[in-house]
Symmetry: C2
């Protein structure tokens, strides 16, 4: 475990002093700024970031995946969402105010700035790590209150960060048709078709997972996410890849991208240094024809977006690659299913092992997480974890994105609920699964809450809905049983999952917050993960990855067609935690049918791999409930 995951607060007095000095230093800025915004993203607006980009964590100590820090001359505040309220309060010292997003009394960043800043203030931000749409909203709000948002070219955190790590440049993996179903040339051709339909001359690709997906390449530049630092610009006859050019020395990569024997000019990949994207895009924009339009995601960096003259920009909430990547083809679906079966094998083994070991009092959150990783790593085509394992006992389970650390590490016991949310990257797919178990006798309240969460999980998983329905319209199904008893959970219900790519991806999802989500389509893969968290006591979450498939209900209104979900995750859900009496007949049927599938599919693989103990555990745990 890395020291930067400490749950004790980081001491920030000196760093804040240095940052405030930099905010007035004419070496970096023409005029002093009264506030400096430190977003959590990198220049690609990645959710997970490389160590060299962990600037928000560096300045405040909070290392969750989402959060924005703002430092003024007098104040320092950090905004994060419900998943991280506890973690944030534990990792920041009292120079910082934790701003709990989603609570009524919490001001927005804009409102807070307006309330604390002196008149006519300048608020600075690095234009490379703020998205164009965020810049626009922030700038508008500040301007209307008499302040201004200014781009600070030199990153002020980097200025005070003595031992900042360098940008990673890991070995690239080339993926063949067996894994991707489509060659990168086919993907480029499909993209160009969409570009010409919309009369788009150039498409600037900034999202790392889109570039990895497009070129059928993977890297390991960012922990858990098999991506690599690059930009790409695609025109109708041009393909430019901006990347550390040393990586192009690898013969496998040269062969894959046909760098030495390009077949046709329009399929020739031209590589250039990563940093040259800015000047290259300037050159492209300078040579635009009178009607040429350029596509760029409105989530791309402000810096790169601004290079394109406004009239030429065709900003899009979701790029065509994002949409194409979300709808998995048959090869990708097959791969995702295989990956989840292997993953289930590892988890069945883990749970059988835990059952044996826990009574000895020797298993901790950390050792359980390590064991899970060890078991996964024995599976074919294992690459690494898809996110940090959340292995949490009792009260730690209520910290939604908890990571066990030496100083918080609890021992698994027969008395407390155990929640494990984990996943892996395999060459054929990405997994993400959460199970909540009790190895002794759960309390009535724990069972009651588990049952509500299960009802929510089933309500989403078994939902039938018309083609064209957006995922956010399903979110309340997951909450209904909890709501009825006055309970809720402060996170979304589901996110898109990549195929040997990021475990969180757009443009679909299931959340009360997401209104810009794209409609669910057959072939999309999302998670279904309602939960309940009792602060100081326990956490419950039940997560399957599910595939959107066509449904065939009795009628077909206006020939619209219907959709539903097929669970891809096949790990038993602990019957001991269920109040089976309060399940409806439909819900009981769903549980039994799901367990039958787990037994058949994962059972066969356990048998094949000769993992007898886990097979016995699986058979016992998948007995029908009454």
């Amino acid at each position: 475990m890395k020291p930067d995951n400490a749950m004790s607060p980081k001491i920030t007095v000196e760093l804040l002093r240095q940052l405030r000095q930099a905010m007035r230093n004419s070496k970096y800025i023409t005029e002093p700024i009264q506030a400096y915004i430190v977003p959590s993203g990198d220049a690609h607006q990645s959710e997970y970031i490389a160590p060299c980009d962990c600037r928000r964590e560096f300045i405040c100590g909070f290392n969750g995946s989402a959060g924005t820090a703002i430092v003024t001359e007098q104040h320092a505040a950090m905004w994060t969402d419900g998943r991280y309220f506890l973690q944030g309060s534990q990792q920041m010292d009292n120079n910082w105010t934790l701003m709990k997003m989603g609570l009524k009394e919490t001001p927005t960043q804009e409102d807070w700035l307006i309330s604390v800043l002196p008149e006519n203030s300048k608020v600075g931000v690095d234009p490379w790590i703020i998205a164009a749409d965020q810049w626009k909203n922030m700038s508008k709000a500040l301007t209307s209150a008499g302040h201004s948002l200014v781009a600070v070219q030199e990153n002020l955190i980097d200025v005070i960060w003595q031992d900042r790590p360098s940008r990673p440049s890991t070995k690239l993996i080339t993926l063949g048709l067996k894994y991707t179903g489509l060659t990168w040339q086919e993907k480029i051709a499909a993209l160009r078709t969409k570009m010409s339909e919309r009369k788009i001359a150039w498409f600037v690709i900034t999202a790392l997972d889109e570039i990895a997906w497009l070129f059928n390449l993977r890297g390991a530049d960012i922990e858990y996410n098999p991506v690599f630092f690059a930009y790409a610009i695609v025109g109708m006859n041009t393909i430019r890849l901006f990347i550390d050019v040393k990586r192009m020395a690898d013969p496998a990569v040269r062969e894959h991208l046909q760098l030495d024997a390009p077949s046709a000019v329009e399929m020739t990949v031209q590589t250039a240094p990563y940093e040259s994207v800015y000047t290259e895009l300037q050159a492209i924009c300078a040579a635009l024809g009178p009607k040429d339009k350029v596509w760029i995601s409105d989530k791309a960096s402000c810096a790169l977006t601004e290079v394109i003259p406004k009239a030429r920009r065709s900003p899009i909430p979701y790029t065509p690659l994002c949409l194409a990547k979300a709808v998995k083809n048959a090869t990708e679906i097959q791969g995702m299913k295989m990956a989840h079966i292997k993953d289930a094998v590892a988890l069945c083994e883990l749970f059988a092992w835990l059952e044996k070991e826990i009574p000895k009092g020797t298993v901790t959150e950390i050792s359980a997480a390590d064991k899970a990783e060890e078991l996964r790593s024995q599976q074919k085509d294992f690459v690494g974890l898809s996110f940090p394992t959340i292995s949490s006992v009792g009260p730690n389970g209520a910290i939604i994105h908890y990571r066990p650390l030496p100083e918080t590490n609890r021992t698994l016991s027969l008395n407390e609920v155990y929640l494990i949310d984990s996943g892996a990257q395999y060459t054929d797919g990405t997994t993400d699964v959460t199970r909540t178990m009790h190895f002794g006798t759960p309390s009535a309240f724990e069972k009651e809450c588990f049952t509500y969460v299960l009802k929510g999980h089933i309500a989403v998983s078994a939902a039938i809905f018309p083609n064209g329905t957006k995922g956010h319209l399903l979110d309340s199904f997951a909450r209904s049983a909890l709501w009825e008893s006055g309970l809720d959970y402060l996170h979304g219900t589901g996110h898109g999952v990549g195929c040997f790519l990021n475990v969180h991806e757009g443009p679909c999802g299931i959340s009360y917050k997401t209104f810009a989500d794209e409609p669910l389509e057959a072939g999309m893969i999302v998670s279904d993960e309602p939960g309940y968290y009792e602060d100081g006591s326990f956490g419950i979450r039940l997560e399957n990855v599910v595939l959107v498939i066509p449904a065939k209900p009795k009628y077909n209104y206006r020939n619209k067609g219907s959709l539903t979900f097929e669970p891809i995750t096949l790990v038993p859900i602990q019957a001991k935690m269920m109040n089976t009496d309060s399940l409806t007949q439909k819900e009981r049927h769903w549980v039994n049918e799901y367990h039958r599938q787990c037994r058949e599919t994962v059972g066969a693989e356990l048998e094949r791999q000769g993992r007898k103990e886990a097979l016995d555990w699986l058979i016992r745990e998948t007995q029908p409930i009454a």
Copy 2:
């Protein structure tokens, strides 16, 4: 029935010729325009409009409440939503293309314009009848495609409309504390508190129902909506009312507004002619202090919005009056409940009468609607209907916003489903109720669909949800049972309802479309009206008006509190149409509990009014289901 409600298509060849001539006529425009947009609203963006404002209907024949017509040199197209697909196709001749909004293949107005217009086209619109936010979106889309949106000061429909009616100026009704719970002075004071909190110097009020609510005045300028044409501008020491000044001659109005003996300068209402709002707002804006901000709804007309310098404008999606009006006070809630009891009395009488008369074969859609109005008019404080009665038999029921006309009028029979959606204005409240009945033996499919709709209705009505939940998160509850069988309905589930005001009001609602709705709060009143429509066969809709009330579930997560709904409409739901076997125990309990309330509350009033036959009918129709 008015001739302009005809269901046969309006012949528009000559009108389109004249309009296209006007689009090139330098008398009205400096340069020819290639397209002209005719929105359905008036200068106040009212949903229901006065005859003088029915410009879209005049040009295309379609008289539904929502729709936008666009005429180019070669094409004429009209966009409307799922409620009006059938009606639109019946009322427009083949010069017009019906654009079915919400279907995937239907282009947006912007996309369609871009696809049909020659390069560098000018698209004209009357800036008084397009909202500022609509203007902005349309203008942006057109500009990005090389066209431009231009404000045409002279309305080109008015130019070709020979016998256009004049703007109404009906007698005003003053409402005392007994009906409003708050004096207009108290409402002004509360508004000013909100203005000073947000440092707003002036508030320009353009919505007619907000003006009526603020001043505790009602009018009859627009059929079904007890409003009057006016604008108001409120400052911290000024109240300006722009209205036909002749209306201020009424002594009751003078007394109510204290025009003759004003108590304090800041509560003095200054009246000015309706048309002078433009120049008065110009004068106010010219005299703004350096920090003065002006509130105006972003749904206000483009014309009036543009008067306010952009830097001074503080556009708001929902005005503080809209929000204050939506949360009913105790007096208003009491009034709404009383109005619904009286309304239920009239409907019980109607249904008892129908049961007797239908077998004679003499009752038609029109005569049933007339009877309903007659019975309502016998109730205390009846003012008029709150919207045109939808009285529809069999296939006519599938036309979602059907109005019976002599040429479509069907006879009620024992063989077809009857749907009646109706409501009234009473001095104490506004009602809106839909019941679907069969007076003979319904088919299995009719009962099946009715049962799904009932399940949806109950799922919303009985839902418990946390404080702060927006109505759109409840929409899928209403559809779930239909979706499961592959069915759906193409309209929202609920709308806000005014108190002796518009039957449709913001800012809350229950719809898959509304993402800008405000969270539901205790005291808000909305409708709950899922439906199912089988084209050519029948329509089913079940609508109650419901009050948002606090709920007291078992737990209270993070002290957020919970809400639920209390039905205000108390009219039996026909048990004959239900497949009681497929109702859950909870659903059966809800039906029986609802019917018990109907019997007790409405029964007592029927008894008091000595309406014996209706009472007998009520008692029979509210027997518990098994």
